[in-house]
């Protein structure tokens, strides 16, 4: 049953992605100032949303783990961090490509870029720490605490953005009073957010299953060793 849900979700995500790519590349016109490169926003922004949402969702699961000490919550939290870290990497990479063409530079120490980079480093540290702990329960406990600290810090880092001069384009979506995007384009962006969110959910579920199998094998190995 779980497998069927996974396949169904993956199929919906794939179909939606194909539809979106057709919309983005073949249906929507070029933007009047930026030309074709503006299309990167359809990947850059949804991916950024997910990489920012992931740690907070994971933080909830970390708290659940600490209150109940059930390993499945740890698997959920860590899989979410892994996936959002990869999405953050995609966000940074696509942003750099866009910046190279529009700003003429790969990188600038704009606060928004800096805070995304900080987030990337924070959770990179989280993943490194997880990799260095062998004991499953100790790993779960320590990484849950680290995740809570990092998630709280993300808020503080993100807030400090608004207090520094910023070069990054302002909000374009209507939910943040941006209103700077044509309706058709904004719709494509939200649809692509949905597609990427589904994709992220599928990868998280696959990773959770992988980790659960991993832990099962580890337990069997220990049992065999004890015999």
């Amino acid at each position: 049953m779980r497998e069927k849900i996974l396949y169904a979700l993956a199929a919906i995500a794939a179909a939606l992605l194909v539809y979106n790519m057709n919309q983005i590349f073949l249906v929507l016109p070029d933007e009047k100032d930026q030309g074709a490169i503006y299309r990167i926003i359809f990947i850059h922004v949804p991916v950024a949303f997910i990489s920012l949402l992931g740690p907070f969702a994971a933080c909830v699961f970390s708290l659940m783990y600490l209150s109940g000490k059930r390993l499945q919550w740890d698997r959920a939290a860590s899989s979410m961090i892994e996936v959002s870290w990869v999405f953050a990497t995609v966000n940074l990479a696509t942003g750099m490509i866009w910046a190279r063409i529009i700003w003429g530079i790969w990188w600038t120490w704009d606060p928004r870029l800096t805070s995304m980079f900080t987030l990337w480093l924070l959770f990179g540290g989280y993943l490194m720490m997880r990799a260095s702990i062998q004991d499953t329960n100790q790993r779960a406990r320590l990484s849950a605490v680290l995740n809570i600290f990092a998630a709280v810090n993300v808020v503080i880092v993100y807030k400090s953005i608004e207090w520094w001069r910023t070069q990054h384009p302002g909000p374009v979506l209507t939910v943040r009073d941006g209103g700077g995007m044509a309706p058709g384009m904004e719709q494509a962006l939200w649809l692509n957010f949905l597609a990427f969110a589904l994709l992220a959910a599928v990868i998280v579920l696959v990773r959770m299953r992988q980790q659960s199998v991993e832990q099962e094998i580890e337990a069997m190995r220990r049992y065999a060793h004890a015999l």
């Binding site: 406990r141 600290f149 400090s160």
Partner: protein, 226 residues
């Protein structure tokens, strides 16, 4: 009251053993002098713009030197199973943690209050104009460094890669506090009083300290005892 007394006895123990050996203190102090020297090769130390990034340089020295002290905070309790004894004693982990934070805070402040005038002499920066405000900002930034550093020292104490993991985890966590401290220190050295925009950064620093001190006190039980 009892809680404070317990914290105090842990802090006093840490300070006493540090003052007797002076291991971390000497290492941290000489390391900060080495970085101060290295900075003079990285850019023209006689340049006029030095004031614009003096706050940043100073806090980089503080942050790097702090890693040496913080690394040992919990690791030194591993010998002879001292950590297990401390945890088995009637001192609650939160009191143990606050005691260690206070001891680290005192040690870091000692290193910084020596490094600050040395920095002023070598780089011809006049830090004496607003000494009181500068000490306040330094104390707030150092408390942030001590809280995060001690918490992560506890978090990594049983890890194989302890010495490697601590800086990787601590510096990204410290970014908001370091940003605020750097901004404030640069302003103060340039002769601007603590007012207007500076208050915003002061608030960031205070909020950072309050939030993470509270979080650490809550979660240190989980980290040390499980």
């Amino acid at each position: 009251m009892r809680f404070l007394r317990q914290s105090w006895s842990v802090a006093a123990k840490d300070l006493r053993s540090e003052i007797r050996t002076k291991e971390a203190l000497n290492a941290s102090l000489s390391f900060s002098l080495v970085i101060l020297l290295l900075f003079s090769f990285a850019f023209d130390p006689a340049a006029e713009q030095i004031r614009d990034f003096s706050g940043g340089l100073l806090w980089m020295v503080f942050a790097f030197a702090a890693a040496l002290i913080l690394n040992r905070s919990f690791a030194r309790e591993l010998e002879n199973d001292c950590l297990d004894m401390l945890l088995a004693s009637p001192v609650p982990p939160a009191a143990l943690f606050l005691g260690k934070v206070s001891a680290n805070f005192v040690l870091l402040m000692a290193v910084e209050l020596i490094a600050l005038p040395v920095f002023g002499i070598f780089y011809n920066v006049n830090w004496g104009m607003q000494a009181a405000s500068l000490v306040l900002v330094t104390a707030l930034g150092t408390w942030a460094l001590a809280v995060i550093g001690t918490m992560f020292s506890a978090l990594t104490v049983n890890l194989r890669l302890r010495e490697l993991m601590l800086p990787v985890l601590v510096y990204p966590m410290m970014i908001p506090a370091l940003m605020a401290s750097i901004q404030l220190t640069t302003d103060l050295i340039a002769g601007q009083p603590l007012a207007g925009d500076s208050f915003l950064w002061l608030r960031v620093l205070v909020a950072f300290n309050v939030i993470f001190t509270a979080l650490s006190v809550v979660f240190v039980d989980t980290v040390l005892l499980g």
